[in-house]
């Protein structure tokens, strides 16, 4: 008999697939209920992507160009934990964002705001032994989108995390405190629980703020943790 972790069900925290206020869900959300799948070795394992995916300077989005990017320099840092409070060490964290004017360096971004030749907006890092990560970047701008009349996305940084199991995979967005656009954004509002929504909002962090240089924002990320193990026949 072998002890196998099982990851908790956090579906009550998560947005529904079909959320008509966000119009792109209407043709892309499945119409049938998801089929429950008992977690097997396939789901409780996952790619342990780490340092091989990250190069020097990848955590500093303000570097690597000829000059300084425009905008307000910020530090975004935090801890990746599981829902049991355990740090998630040595796991890949990928981020991407618009520039200070609210423009992505993407062929299909038609927002007529300027590109910044000194800013790409993609970063990668690996959490340390305590699950901590840190990025240096600039604060992204809000940008308009076509979802509805006069629609604007609140400023955000996209995050992609793997954890240590396929069942922990998380892609989310980090928002900035006090954004007046929250109440008008169907993507933010797709999360049903108010307290859960607030977990997507970074906090101003005086401790990581660098005098004369950068504002600090703290953003802890909580992945699904394991519950009481089940016992699996050792089939090997």
């Amino acid at each position: 008999m072998i002890d196998m972790p099982q990851y908790i069900d956090d579906s009550d925290t998560q947005p529904a697939y079909l959320w008509p206020d966000y119009t792109s869900t209407v043709l892309r959300a499945p119409s049938r209920p998801l089929v429950p799948l008992r977690q097997s070795l396939t789901e409780i394992t996952g790619p342990l992507l780490g340092d091989d995916r990250v190069g020097p300077g990848d955590a500093d989005l303000t570097a690597g160009h000829a000059g300084e990017p425009l905008g307000q320099r910020i530090i975004v840092s935090g801890q990746v934990r599981d829902s049991g409070g355990r740090p998630v060490p040595h796991t890949l964290v990928e981020v991407w964002q618009a520039n200070a004017a609210g423009r992505y360096i993407h062929d299909l971004d038609r927002h007529p705001a300027p590109l910044d030749p000194n800013f790409t907006g993609a970063g990668r890092t690996v959490t340390d032994a305590d699950g901590r990560y840190r990025f240096e970047t600039i604060r992204p701008g809000a940008y308009p989108w076509k979802n509805h009349h006069n629609a604007w996305r609140p400023a955000h940084i996209h995050f992609s995390l793997f954890g240590r199991a396929f069942a922990q995979r998380l892609v989310t967005q980090m928002y900035f405190p006090g954004d007046p656009l929250f109440d008008f954004d169907p993507i933010y509002a797709s999360v049903p629980d108010q307290a859960a929504r607030r977990r997507m909002i970074a906090r101003f962090d005086p401790d990581t703020t660098i005098p004369e240089r950068a504002l600090g924002f703290g953003f802890d990320i909580v992945l699904r943790g394991t519950r009481a193990s089940i016992f699996e026949d050792d089939a090997s």
Binding site: P5, Y7, D9, D10, S11, T13, Q14, P15, A16, Y17, W19, S24, T25, L27, R28, A29, P30, S31, R32, L34, V35, P36, S40, L41, T42, T45, G46, P47, L49, R53, S83, W96, I105, H106, L108, T120, G121, H156, S160, A165, F166, R169, L170, V171, T172, Q173, I187, Y188, V191, A195, R199, M200, I221, V222, L223, E232, D233, D234, A235, S236
Partner: protein, 182 residues
Amino acid sequence: MTTPSQTVGPFFAFALPWPDGPYAAPPGTPGLITVHGTVRDGSGAPVPDALIETWQADPDGRFDHPDDPRGRGASGPRWFARCPTDADGMYAIHTVKPGPVPSADGPHAPHLTVCVLARGLLRQLVTRVYFPDETDANRADPVLSRLPDPSRASTLIAVPDGNALRFDIRLRGDDETVFFAL
């Protein structure tokens, strides 16, 4: 409690794809196969801004991971692939067929697990690719054989396509792919 999921959005292509991303096992690996397909939405239109990720066991059915209680499987290949869809909604990943995976419910037939991310998906979708030359193992597979609607099992089995395998993903519609809640 956990951090909620949000959509990957339409603008990840400059950040998430890796040059070697589609290769779960490196070019030149013996037995390398291509799994490709088209992602379509509820109107049948191709989805040109999806990201497909796959994870799998090694050819012996072991995982290169410390939580595999039999000990870690073969390291070297990443056993993880990532490929964005192109303007026609097509993706292609390259890998080696995994072995069967033991479970308390009986062995799972060889399969890839698949994560689908896209604009319009507020959370990832999870499905599986099973192999068409594993008729007996597929028939006995505890996931395929216990679907609430058995007629939908065919959406989880790739089809031969020359030297490759084709696995189309229909997000919504009459021939909607089976997606799982983990």
